[in-house]
């Protein structure tokens, strides 16, 4: 799929905090009974990870799993594997009521890295982004400025953020603006 391109084709901007279009990522929306053993094993088989607790993200060798709602997960996998993994999950769940759908192309994904990354997000997300409240393993669906978004920390001072593809350019501009030199509150 060489002709598939992400929203800004990998563009990045580097000011106080670096913002990068992370490129294409496989994303699968999985809705179902999160307590079901079958679902747990299907997810484990797909990404090698357990089901995350509320507002958490877990990572396995083949990808990540994020908690989206009491009956919804988001699987993060390699872009070119998304269709196959979607099918694999549906097959594993068989008749058990669920929905697995590839939404990789519906999203944009950005990396926010550098000291102050959490402050860039705290300019737009009405949540507690202090180190005590938000760390590696936490995952939050919220808004950033006027846009719906979700994000998590991949390592210290590094976040990944997803939003809808149609507003990816706006999100990039928003993040770049919030990451301007000299604009960090230096609070956290």
């Amino acid at each position: 799929m060489s002709n598939a391109i992400s929203i800004l084709n990998g563009a990045s901007s580097s000011d106080a905090v670096k913002i990068t279009d992370s490129g294409l990522r496989g994303m699968i929306t999985l809705r179902g009974d999160l307590d079901s053993a079958q679902l747990k094993s299907a997810v484990s088989a797909a990404v090698g990870s357990d089901i995350p607790a509320q507002r958490k993200i877990t990572h396995g060798p083949m990808g990540g799993v994020a908690w989206m709602s009491p009956d919804e997960l988001l699987l993060l996998v390699a872009y070119d594997q998304a269709d196959a993994i979607t099918a694999q999950i549906s097959e594993a769940l068989g008749a058990e009521h669920h929905m697995a759908v590839n939404v990789s192309d519906a999203r944009a994904i950005f990396r926010i890295e550098g000291q102050g990354a959490r402050e860039v997000l705290a300019k737009g997300a009405p949540i507690d982004l202090s180190p005590e409240a938000f760390g590696i393993g936490d995952f939050r669906r919220t808004r950033v400025g006027q846009l719906a978004a979700a994000f998590w920390m991949t390592q210290t001072d590094m976040f990944e953020l997803i939003c809808f593809r149609s507003v990816g350019e706006f999100m990039f501009d928003w993040l770049t603006n919030a990451a301007r030199d000299g604009s960090l509150p230096e609070y956290f």
Binding site: M1, S166, F170, W174, N177
Partner: protein, 1004 residues
């Protein structure tokens, strides 16, 4: 700097001079000065004109409560009116101009109003501009608009940036004075994550000026020690230049940080709006001194006693060479003592109380200052500056005892706790008769979701005006806040404070007590809005009893200072006039923000390209490069048409339509909503949300469906494709995808939670490209990869496979009436697919078309558009879509509503087509059809309106759709559409399907 004292000025740095201009005049100040202190240092006593009478006005206060010293600050793109000189830090290159005068501050024509005060009494607007009626629009309003407002509105776009910042803390402390520092220390020591906001650059508040010995340390030392202690605490943050400006529900508070006001050329945002969630909020906002109401109390040179003290002590500025102090309390003696010790003359202290024998009066007398008790000011002499005061017996009617020459008056009517933040979210007040002030009632705090109070006051704001109890109160507040936030306060000794005792104050609302109207008419309550004692008395006389009504009638407290100095005095005068006790009259409402905040900070980053998100399709950049004329469609932008060189927009649309009808064209339909619905009960669910039957749809097939609200009104439509036995893809309108998805989820989660159905909004997963026109199939065949023959892919069906090497799902559906395929491909490959389509289509003369061509072609076919033919009151049957409303289904949303007689009336407005008499003439959108006669209001008898109207290049005729009363029964009738200007367009009612009624073109 003629008023700069040889010594003193703890906040200024005498080694760093600063240059600024006021009304174009170059002036000097020191780093650390406020604009007000620098102006005073330069002898600029008069700084503005009042709102109504254009009276000369000088600096009245030294902080946020300042009513008079408002200036235009900055120039060009950094110009801002109504900036308080008292809270503006002076910097090199600052430019300020005074406001509300013409032609100059010194000579102001508007001051004529001052000579005619009897023509401008309280309620003057309501009394004056009543008659004649025409005069309001043509005479009064233009004149009032001309003179309204204090500062000028900025003309250039603001070049600065603004932003928000969200934080969560255990304890928020507002105010960095003694109480705030002490409370924050207690809270943070207990382990609470604490944030302290201080509006000025400096911590310490009034303690920086007024001496006390705290735990053995003099004030200044205690402040620096405590500040250092706090600075060392990991869990405590102090932000200066940040005002806690509002308290809202659920522990939400707003902080207003001014980052570059004092250094405009620094990078970074100018203002940052902190949006803070706190478990507990401690307000340690102190108290504000009240003016006294005597004649001439607004003349430049008359100021609050505390301000005169601050200017001497903090900025080394003597506000006058000879300052008369007038007061009703002991605290003001501190001003006299400070001035005297600074080497300035204090000819007299006039004390309204019968006796004054406390430690402070004794100290003043010992310094040789003359103290007159039972005495007040009859009037201040002077106009642009103070020349003398005439003194009188406080209990009398103003008979002059003596005239004392002076150039400044320091007045103090007592202190009022700053209860604003406490009150913003519902904290209640008690009247403290001893100090004649309203103070927070700790038993009636603003409450959170748990019913517990979430705001705690600390220090003088609590009503403890003396240092020792105020400090103890602050310590207790900090401990209480930390405990309530879940921490355990650290045990430690109570603070030990040694400060001067103060004798009780005496309430004085009018000076002298029996002042005749002549004096009261010159005794100001609200300095900015020019409200005097006589105005409030007049309002009471005219029957106003509520303080809220009196406020609006007299404009007391309605200026930009929101009555910080005038409220208590005003309502006391009202109470006096009404013969009612003050607490019964009550206060007006305190609303956030505490002082005005910039509009920029409220807008935050949302300006320019970040003003509002625009949704863009995966092919957006191509459209932009290829001369798309953009049209907003909900939050999307879509090409209206693609204009070629030399074309008008209309010509471009016509070209696109003709090409589609005769060859092949391509449309970016990616914005179309797409909701995936899956589960064993998916078919049952869709039968409930659509008006027509979806459960009978075969996998691989498509069906057009309608969605109605519970009231039967049509709100969305689209094609449903059955992907498999338990999986459907529902197309929605471009603007409706989020709404429809939310609608489905709401029904599933709240009403039909027993149905096993999941939904997902997959709108953006796909780029959807419509290939339309007689040559469409040839083009698809050329793209190659699947069988697209009419046998393999008949009308209203879809297949899945690959086209041009890209995973694709073509739907054989048509919104134009032509042979048409809407092809969904993964969004990330949308551009690639689009490119391949254009490349392959070259030999067929392919061209892209925009939304206008789409609209015209759908209208030619009589297809409705949600939002054009519907407006929230239209049911499917009105649009001849009764065929899509199932009669067999047991239930669906809207079914019950259709039984209502109103929705069954035969004369409802129904969809018809219109052909104008003159085929070249296009009806205006929304034009009304009228019938003979008048309605019950004497208006033309309107029977309906045009909903869609175009010139159809296909038919060479103007066409329109309209909703007309009983329209279905009016075929062949000629209707009249009168337009503005008297013109009438006539059009014949016809079937709304204008073109290819049999559908022969799309079904090939």
């Amino acid at each position: 700097m003629r008023n700069r004292l040889p010594s003193g000025g703890s906040l200024i740095d005498r080694s760093t001079p600063v240059s600024f201009t006021f009304n174009g005049k170059e002036m000097k100040g020191h780093k650390g000065d406020t604009l007000a202190s620098a102006l005073l240092a330069n002898g600029q006593t008069m700084v503005g004109r009042s709102f109504k009478y254009h009276r000369p006005r000088g600096v009245m206060a030294s902080g946020a409560e300042e009513p008079n010293a408002l200036v235009n600050l900055g120039e060009g793109a950094r110009f801002e009116p109504n900036q308080r000189a008292t809270t503006t830090e002076v910097f090199d290159g600052l430019t300020a101009t005074s406001q509300n005068h013409w032609p100059s501050l010194e000579f102001d024509i508007g001051a004529l109003n001052n000579k005619l005060p009897r023509f401008f009494p309280a309620g003057f607007y309501y009394k004056t501009f009543m008659k004649p009626r025409w005069a309001w629009k043509h005479l009064f309003e233009p004149v009032i608009r001309q003179s309204a407002g204090l500062g000028r509105a900025p003309e250039e776009q603001d070049v600065d940036r603004y932003e928000y910042f969200y934080v969560y803390v255990d304890v928020l402390v507002v105010g960095g004075g003694m109480a705030g520092l002490a409370a924050a220390r207690e809270a943070a020591s207990a382990g609470a994550k604490t944030l302290l906001l201080e509006q000025t650059e400096h911590l310490g508040g009034r303690l920086s000026v007024d001496d006390a010995l705290i735990d053995g340390k003099p004030s200044g030392e205690w402040i620096s020690q405590t500040t250092a202690d706090l600075g060392a605490m990991e869990n405590l943050t102090i932000r200066t230049r940040t005002m806690g400006s509002g308290v809202f529900d659920h522990g939400y508070a707003m902080g207003y940080e001014r980052l570059t006001d004092h250094a405009p050329d620094t990078r970074g945002p100018r203002h940052r709006l902190w949006r803070i969630r706190a478990k507990r909020i401690i307000t340690a906002t102190g108290a504000i001194e009240r003016p006294l109401a005597f004649a001439g109390n607004d003349i430049p040179g008359v100021m609050l006693a505390s301000a005169a003290r601050d200017y001497a002590s903090l900025y080394g500025v003597g506000v006058g060479k000879r300052t008369v102090v007038v007061a009703n309390n002991d605290d003001a003696y501190r001003t006299a003592i400070t001035l005297k010790e600074a080497g300035l003359e204090v000819p007299a202290i006039l004390d309204a109380r019968p006796t004054a024998d406390g430690p402070l009066p004794v100290q003043a007398r010992n310094l040789g200052i003359r103290v007159e008790t039972g005495t007040g000011i009859a009037k201040v002499k002077g106009y642009k500056s103070v020349v003398a005061v005439a003194i009188c017996d406080q209990s009398g009617d103003g008979a002059i005892l003596e005239t004392i020459p002076c150039d400044a008056v320091a007045m103090s009517g007592g202190w009022s706790p700053v209860v604003h933040l406490w009150s913003h979210c519902g904290g209640k007040l008690n009247w403290d008769a001893e100090n004649a002030m309203f103070a927070p009632d700790p038993n009636r705090p603003p409450t959170g979701a748990d019913g517990q109070g979430f705001v705690i006051t600390a220090g003088t704001e609590s009503g403890d005006l003396a240092t020792a109890p105020a400090l103890q109160n602050a310590v207790d507040a900090g401990r209480q806040a930390s405990r309530e936030a879940g921490f355990t306060p650290v045990e430690r000794d109570a603070p030990l404070v040694i400060a001067n005792d103060e004798a009780p104050m005496l309430p004085v609302w009018s000076m002298p007590e029996q002042a005749p109207n002549k004096l009261r008419a010159k005794s100001w309550l609200d300095f900015q809005n020019d409200v005097k004692v006589s105005d409030v008395a007049l309002a009471a006389q005219e029957g106003y009893v509520s303080v809220e009504h009196t406020k609006r009638y007299t404009t007391l407290g309605m200026a930009t200072d929101q009555g910080k100095l005038s409220n208590i005095n005003g309502l006391a005068v009202l109470a006096d006039s009404l013969n009612a006790p003050i607490p019964q009259v009550g206060t007006t409402t305190f609303r956030p923000p505490y002082t005005p905040i910039s509009l920029g900070s409220i807008a935050g980053e949302a300006r320019g390209t970040l003003f509002k998100p625009t949704r863009k399709s995966p092919i957006d950049a191509w459209h932009d490069k290829n001369h798309a004329v953009w049209e907003p469609v909900a939050d999307w932008r879509r090409p209206y048409t693609y204009r070629r060189d030399g074309e008008t927009t209309q010509q471009a649309v016509t070209r696109e339509i003709n090409n589609t009808r005769t060859g092949v064209s391509v449309l970016d339909a990616s914005t179309l909503g797409k909701i995936l619905v899956k589960g064993p009960d998916a078919a049952k669910f869709l039968d409930l949300v659509y008006t027509n039957m979806m459960s009978t749809l075969k996998p691989g097939k498509c069906r057009y469906g309608l969605m109605c609200t519970e009231n039967g009104f049509l709100f969305d439509d689209g094609v449903v494709a059955r992907l498999s036995e338990d999986e459907f893809l529902c197309h929605t309108t471009s603007g409706g995808s989020d709404r429809v998805h939310g609608w489905m989820e709401e029904w599933l989660q709240t009403e039909w939670w027993d149905l096993k159905v999941y939904t997902a909004n997959v709108t953006e997963q796909y780029a959807q490209i419509a290939i339309v026109g007689p040559d469409a199939r040839k083009l698809l065949e050329k793209l190659g990869g699947m069988d697209v023959s009419s046998g393999a892919l008949p009308f209203m069906s879809f297949v899945e496979g690959e086209l041009a090497g890209i995973k694709a799902r073509p739907f054989r559906i048509s919104f134009s009436g032509e042979l048409s395929y809407e092809i969904a491909v993964p969004a990330a490959q949308g551009q690639a697919f689009w490119d391949k389509v254009l490349q392959a289509g070259e030999e067929f003369g392919i061209m892209p078309y925009g939304t206008e061509a789409l609209h015209v072609m759908r209208a030619e076919k009589g297809f409705i558009m949600i939002g054009d033919e519907t407006d929230g009151t239209v049911i499917p049957q009105d649009l001849n879509l009764g065929w899509a409303v199932s009669k067999k289904k047991e239930d669906f949303i809207g079914k019950r509503a259709f039984e209502r007689d109103f929705l069954q009336r035969a004369d409802r407005k129904q969809l018809v087509g219109l052909l104008t008499e003159n085929p070249q003439e296009v009806l205006p959108d929304g034009a009304h059809a009228v019938e003979d006669g008048k309605n019950r209001y004497g208006q033309a008898n309107m029977i309906g309106h045009v909903t869609s109207t175009y010139f159809s290049p296909t038919l060479g005729h103007s066409i329109a759709m309209a909703l007309i009363k009983g329209g279905s029964g009016r075929m062949g009738e000629v209707l009249e559409f009168p337009l503005a200007g008297g013109k009438v367009i006539k059009a014949t009612v016809v079937d709304p399907v204008f073109y290819d009624k049999e559908g022969a073109r799309q079904n090939v």
